[in-house]
C-alpha cells in the first residue's frame, strides 16, 4: 500500500537537500578541485537517496496494481478533501519521476563540471537545480489543481534563476521577458481555477472530472478552458506564445538550458497532457481537438521554419525545442493510448536529446564556437564531441536506430489513429524540414574546411555525461521495450478515463 510518505519522500529529499547544498557550497568555495569533488560526493548521496525513494515508490505502485485509474492520496487521509492537498499516483506520474530523476542526475553532474565553483553564486545554482527537480516531481504527483498550481508555478518562477545565472545583458533581458509571460500565464490559470472552483466546488482532479463530465451548461467551462489552455500554453512555449523560449535558452548558460529543456519543458508538456486529456476536458466534454490540432501544426511549422534561417547553433537547438512541443501536442490531440505512450516516450527521449544537444553546444561554446560558420570542420578537430552531436541531431531528425525515431513513429501513428491524417502528413513534412536544417549543421561540421588549423583539445571529463546520454539514445532506439514496459499499463488506465 502506498502511503503519503512514499510519495513525499522523493520531493522532500530534493527540496531539503537543496537548502543544505547552499551551506555546503559556502564551505567549499575556497577549496578548488577538492571542493568540486566534495560537492560531487554530496550530489551522489542525494541522488542515491532520491533513487532509492523513487525505486521504492515504483515497486510499491506496480505491486499494488490499483483498480482506480487515479490513485489519490491526501495529507488528511480524506480522499476528496476540499482543501487538503492531494497527490495522485498513477503509472504516468511514477514513470515521470523515474525519468526526471535520471535526467536530473546527468545534467546536474554536467553543471558541476561547467560552473565556476569559486563564484559565490555556484552554491545557489546547484541548490536551485535540486529544488527544481523536487518541484517538477511534485508537479508530476499533484492530485488537485491547487497542488499542481503551487508546484508548477514554483518551477516556472525558479527557472528564471537558472536563466539569469550568467548575468549578461542578454540573459537579464530574456529572463525579464520570460518572467512577464509567466506572470501573465499564472494570472490566466488562477482565473480559470476560480471559475472551475465556482462550478464544481472542488479542485481535486478526480472530483472535478466527475462533475464536469455530467455538466449540462458548458459556457462557463469554455471560458475556464480557454484561460487555462492559454496559461499552460504560454509556459509550454506553444506558438504563438513561444517568443520567450529561444531568447531565454540562448542567453542562459548551457547547463541551464540543458536542465530546463530536459525537465521543466517536459513537465510543461505533462501539465498540458494531464489537464487537457485527463482532468479538465477530455474530448468528450469539450471539442478542443481541432483547435489544438491547428495549434500544433502551427507550432511544428513555425518552429521548424524559424530554425531553417537560424545561424546561431544554440538558438537553432532552442527552435528544435519549440518543434518538439508541436510533436508532443500532436500526440496529445490524438487522444489515443498510443498517443499518450508516444508522449511519455517523447518526454524521455526529447528531454535526453535536447539536454544532450545543449550540453554539447555548451562544450562547443566554451571553445568559442557559436555560429554555423564557426562549426566548420569541427568534425575532424573534435571527433568525439562531434560524433555525439551527430547522433543527437540524427535522433532529433528521427533517423533510426536512434531513440527519436521510435518517439516520432508513435506520435505520427497516433495522429493517424486519431483521424488526424492531415496532421500526421504536416508532421512528417516538418520533420523533413527539421532534417534539412539539422543536416546543414552536420554539413558544416564535416564538409567544410576548418578556418584555422589550431588543434582543439576536447574536454574529456565533460564528455562523460555527454557519452552516457548518447549511449542512452542508442539503447533506447534499439531496444525501447524496457521503457515501453513501464509505460504500457497506461493503456488500461486510459481506457477507463477517455471512454
Amino acid at each position: 500500500m502506498i502511503t503519503i510518505a512514499d510519495v513525499l519522500s522523493p520531493i522532500a529529499i530534493f527540496i531539503f537537500s537543496s537548502l543544505l547544498t547552499i551551506i555546503l557550497c559556502k564551505f567549499t568555495e575556497k577549496m578548488k578541485a577538492k571542493g568540486r569533488v566534495l560537492i560531487a560526493l554530496w550530489f551522489l548521496v542525494i541522488f542515491s537517496a532520491a533513487i532509492c525513494a523513487v525505486w521504492n515508490l515504483a515497486l510499491k505502485y506496480h505491486a499494488s496494481s490499483p483498480t482506480c485509474p487515479l490513485l489519490s492520496i491526501t495529507l488528511s487521509g480524506n480522499e476528496f478533501g476540499i482543501f487538503s492537498s492531494a497527490f495522485l499516483v498513477d503509472s504516468v506520474s511514477v514513470y515521470l519521476t523515474i525519468i526526471f530523476t535520471f535526467t536530473a542526475v546527468i545534467v546536474t553532474f554536467y553543471a558541476l563540471l561547467c560552473v565556476n565553483n569559486s563564484d559565490g553564486n555556484a552554491g545557489r545554482y546547484y541548490a536551485m537545480m535540486l529544488f527544481l527537480t523536487g518541484c517538477v516531481i511534485g508537479t508530476a504527483f499533484a492530485g488537485d489543481f491547487l497542488t499542481l498550481f503551487i508546484f508548477w508555478e514554483i518551477t516556472a518562477a525558479c527557472s528564471s534563476f537558472l536563466l539569469i545565472y550568467g548575468r549578461t545583458p542578454e540573459s537579464i533581458h530574456a529572463t525579464l521577458k520570460y518572467l512577464v509571460m509567466i506572470i501573465v500565464a499564472s494570472a490566466f490559470i488562477i482565473y480559470a481555477l476560480s471559475i472551475i472552483y465556482a462550478i464544481s466546488g472542488t479542485l481535486n482532479f478526480w472530483a472535478v472530472r466527475q462533475i464536469l463530465a455530467t455538466m449540462q451548461d458548458k459556457r462557463l467551462l469554455e471560458i475556464a478552458f480557454l484561460f487555462m489552455a492559454a496559461g499552460y500554453s504560454i509556459e509550454a512555449a506553444i506558438v504563438p506564445f513561444h517568443v520567450w523560449l529561444p531568447d531565454a535558452y540562448t542567453a542562459a548558460p548551457a547547463s541551464s538550458s540543458a536542465f530546463l529543456s530536459a525537465l521543466v519543458d517536459q513537465a510543461s508538456y505533462y501539465v498540458l497532457l494531464r489537464v487537457l486529456l485527463y482532468i479538465l476536458t477530455p474530448p468528450t466534454v469539450l471539442p478542443w481537438v481541432l483547435m489544438f490540432a491547428i495549434i500544433s501544426a502551427l507550432t511544428m511549422v513555425i518552429g521548424n521554419l524559424l530554425a531553417l534561417a537560424e545561424i546561431n547553433v544554440k538558438r537553432l537547438i532552442s527552435y528544435v525545442c519549440i518543434a518538439d512541443v508541436g510533436y508532443n501536442l500532436v500526440a496529445i490531440t490524438s487522444a489515443t493510448e498510443l498517443g499518450i505512450m508516444g508522449n511519455l516516450y517523447f518526454f524521455l527521449v526529447g528531454g535526453i536529446t535536447t539536454a544532450l544537444a545543449f550540453m554539447l553546444v555548451g562544450i562547443f561554446n566554451s571553445m568559442g564556437l557559436e555560429t554555423l560558420e564557426d562549426f566548420s570542420g569541427v568534425g575532424t578537430r573534435m571527433p568525439l564531441t562531434s560524433l555525439a552531436m551527430l547522433l543527437a541531431v540524427l535522433s532529433f531528425a528521427g533517423v533510426p536506430p536512434l531513440a527519436g525515431f521510435i518517439a516520432k513513429y508513435m506520435v505520427f501513428t497516433s495522429a493517424l489513429k486519431g483521424n488526424l491524417a492531415w496532421l500526421a502528413v504536416i508532421g512528417v513534412l516538418t520533420s523533413v524540414i527539421q532534417t534539412a536544417y539539422l543536416l546543414r549543421l552536420i554539413n558544416y561540421m564535416y564538409a567544410k574546411k576548418p578556418r584555422n588549423e589550431i588543434k582543439i583539445k576536447e574536454p574529456k571529463i565533460k564528455l562523460i555525461p555527454v557519452l552516457i546520454l548518447t549511449f542512452a539514445l542508442i539503447v533506447l532506439g534499439l531496444y525501447p521495450t524496457m521503457v515501453l514496459d513501464l509505460i504500457s499499463p497506461i493503456i488500461n488506465e486510459l481506457q477507463l478515463i477517455i471512454t
Partner: protein, 493 residues
C-alpha cells in the same frame, strides 16, 4: 543449416564494425580483409538456407525474436528466393567494392572510418532484404542513409557533400512517406509483419488501402530514382567514390525496387486486386517506368561526364524494372524484372568500377578527352566491355537474359491486357537507346587513337575486383538457371 543463421547474418556486420574500425587504424588492408571475411561468412550463412527454400514445403524460411511487444513488433527475419538472390548479390558487390577500395582509396585519409561505414552500410542493405517486419525494415532502410552520406561526402569528388546532402534529404523525404504507410498498416491490421498484414489488409476499407499503397510507392520510388523524383541520383552517383557508386547503383536503388515489389505489390496491392484502381495503378507505374527509361537513356546519350552517363543509365534501367514490376499479375514479366535487378546490379556495379579505374589513372572525367585506352588498360577495357555490352542487352551477357524474359513476359501480358502493347513497343526502342549510349561510352573511352601517354593499367586489387564481377556477369548470362529457379520459387504460380 546453422541455428539462428539469419540473426547471426544480421548481427555479424554490426558487431564487427568496431573491430574493423580498430584494425583499420593500424592497417586499412586488414580492415578490408576482415570486411571481406564478414561478407563471406554472411554469404555462407545465407546459402546454407537455400536448400530449405528450394526443396522445402514452405517457400520461405522464417526466424522470429521478441523485440518491442508493446508496438507489436518482433524481430522477424525471413528468406525466400527473391531475398536470397538480392542478399547474395549485395554481398558480392560489397566484397568487390571492398577489394576495389584497397588500391583505389589507398592514398586517401581516414580509411578506418571508411571501412567501418561500409560495414554499417552492409548491415542496412542486407537487413532490408531479409526482414519481414516493417519496423525493422525501416530501421535498415534508414541505416543506409548515414553511412552513405558520409562515404559520398567525405571520399567523393568535387563538391561531394552537396551531392550527399541532396541524397540524404531526398531519400529521407521519401522515407517519411514510407513511415506513414507503416503507421497506417499498424493501425488497420494491428501487425507489422508483412505476411500477416497482407491477409489482414484484405478485409480493410479499400479507400484507405489505396492511400497506403500510394504513400508506400511514392516513398520507394524516390529511392529507386524514378522520374520525376530522380534528381538526387545523377549528383550522388557521379560524385561518390567509385566503389560507393557501384553500391548505390547496384544495390541501393535496387532496394527501392525490391521494396516496391515486396511491400507495395505483394503486401498492400492484393487487397485492391479486384478494384478498378488496381489496373490504373499498374498502368501508372508502366508510364512512369517508360518515362524514366526514355529520360535516362536520352540524357545518357548526350552527357559527356563518364560517371553521369552511367548514372543516367541507372535511371533508365530502373525504368525497365518498374515497367516489369507493373506487370505484377504476370509471372514471367515479374521474374524478368526481379532477375534484372540482379543482373543490372552486377553489370552496373562493374561499369562504375571501371569508370573509377579510368578516372583514377587519367584524373579527368570528360569522355571526349579520353580515347584509345584499350591498349593501355587492357584488363579495365575487357571488364568495361563486358559491363557495357551487358547494359546494352547483348547476349551472352547477364542483362540480356533478364530483359529477354521481361519482354517475353510483356508479350504474354499484351494478350491479357491490351494496354501493354504500346509501352512494350516503346520499351524495345529504349533498349536500342541503351545499346547506343553503352557503345558510345565504350568507344569514346577505350577505342580510337590514344590521347594520353604513359597510362598504366590499374593496380592488382582493382583488377581482381573487376575481373571477378566481369566473370559474374558472364556467368549469369550463360547460366542463369539457378537464379531464375530461386526467383520462381518465391513467386506463387
Amino acid at each position: 543449416m546453422v541455428p539462428y543463421c539469419l540473426l547471426l547474418a544480421l548481427l555479424l556486420p554490426v558487431l564487427s564494425t568496431p573491430f574493423i574500425f580498430i584494425l583499420g587504424k593500424r592497417s586499412y588492408k586488414l580492415a578490408a580483409l576482415l570486411l571481406v571475411l564478414v561478407c563471406l561468412a554472411d554469404l555462407a550463412l545465407f546459402l546454407s538456407v537455400s536448400p530449405t527454400i528450394i526443396s522445402g514445403v514452405s517457400n520461405k524460411y522464417v526466424e522470429s525474436y521478441l523485440w518491442i511487444p508493446v508496438l507489436h513488433s518482433s524481430l522477424t527475419l525471413f528468406m525466400d528466393g527473391v531475398s536470397l538472390s538480392m542478399a547474395v548479390i549485395t554481398l558480392t558487390l560489397v566484397m568487390a567494392a571492398t577489394v576495389f577500395s584497397i588500391d583505389y582509396m589507398h592514398a586517401k585519409e581516414g580509411l578506418a572510418e571508411y571501412f567501418a561505414l561500409l560495414t554499417l552500410l552492409t548491415v542496412g542493405l542486407v537487413g532490408v532484404f531479409i526482414t519481414s517486419n516493417l519496423m525493422l525494415f525501416y530501421f535498415c532502410w534508414e541505416m543506409m542513409l548515414v553511412p552513405a552520406y558520409f562515404i559520398i561526402g567525405h571520399w567523393g569528388y568535387r563538391d561531394a557533400y552537396r551531392a550527399a546532402f541532396k541524397f540524404f534529404i531526398f531519400t529521407h523525404a521519401g522515407a517519411v512517406f514510407v513511415l506513414l504507410g507503416i503507421g497506417a498498416i499498424f493501425l488497420v491490421t494491428g501487425s507489422l509483419d508483412i505476411f500477416q498484414a497482407q491477409s489482414a489488409l484484405l478485409s480493410v476499407d479499400e479507400e484507405l488501402v489505396k492511400w497506403i499503397l500510394i504513400s508506400f510507392t511514392i516513398g520507394f520510388a524516390v529511392k529507386m530514382a524514378i522520374v520525376p523524383v530522380h534528381m538526387w541520383l545523377p549528383d550522388a552517383h557521379s560524385e561518390a567514390p567509385a566503389p560507393m557508386s557501384a553500391l548505390l547503383s547496384g544495390v541501393i536503388i535496387s532496394a527501392g525496387a525490391y521494396a516496391i515489389l515486396r511491400i507495395s505489390l505483394e503486401t498492400v496491392f492484393p487487397a485492391l486486386m479486384a478494384t478498378e484502381f488496381a489496373s490504373n495503378f499498374l498502368h501508372g507505374m508502366t508510364i512512369f517506368g517508360l518515362l524514366s527509361a526514355f529520360f535516362g537513356s536520352l540524357i545518357s546519350l548526350v552527357e559527356n561526364d563518364i560517371k553521369r552517363i552511367i548514372a543516367y543509365s541507372s535511371i533508365a534501367h530502373m525504368g525497365y524494372v518498374l515497367f516489369g514490376l507493373s506487370m505484377f499479375p504476370f509471372r514471367e514479366a515479374l521474374t524478368g524484372a526481379i532477375l534484372h535487378l540482379v543482373t543490372h546490379a552486377v553489370s552496373k556495379g562493374l561499369l562504375f568500377l571501371t569508370a573509377g579505374a579510368v578516372m583514377k589513372q587519367l584524373e579527368i572525367r570528360d569522355i571526349r578527352e579520353m580515347g584509345g585506352l584499350a591498349g593501355q588498360m587492357p584488363i579495365t577495357a575487357i571488364s568495361s566491355a563486358t559491363a557495357a555490352l551487358s547494359i546494352a542487352g547483348i547476349p551472352p551477357f547477364a542483362c540480356f537474359i533478364s530483359e529477354f524474359i521481361m519482354f517475353t513476359g510483356a508479350f504474354k501480358a499484351i494478350g491479357m491486357d491490351g494496354f501493354y502493347l504500346a509501352p512494350t513497343a516503346l520499351m524495345l526502342v529504349a533498349t536500342v537507346l541503351s545499346l547506343a549510349y553503352s557503345l558510345r561510352l565504350f568507344s569514346y573511352v577505350f577505342l580510337g587513337q590514344p590521347k594520353h601517354e604513359k597510362i598504366m593499367d590499374v593496380p592488382l586489387m582493382m583488377k581482381i575486383s573487376m575481373l571477378f564481377l566481369a566473370a559474374t556477369v558472364i556467368f549469369l548470362g550463360i547460366w542463369p538457371t539457378q537464379v531464375i529457379h530461386l526467383i520462381l520459387s518465391a513467386i506463387p504460380a
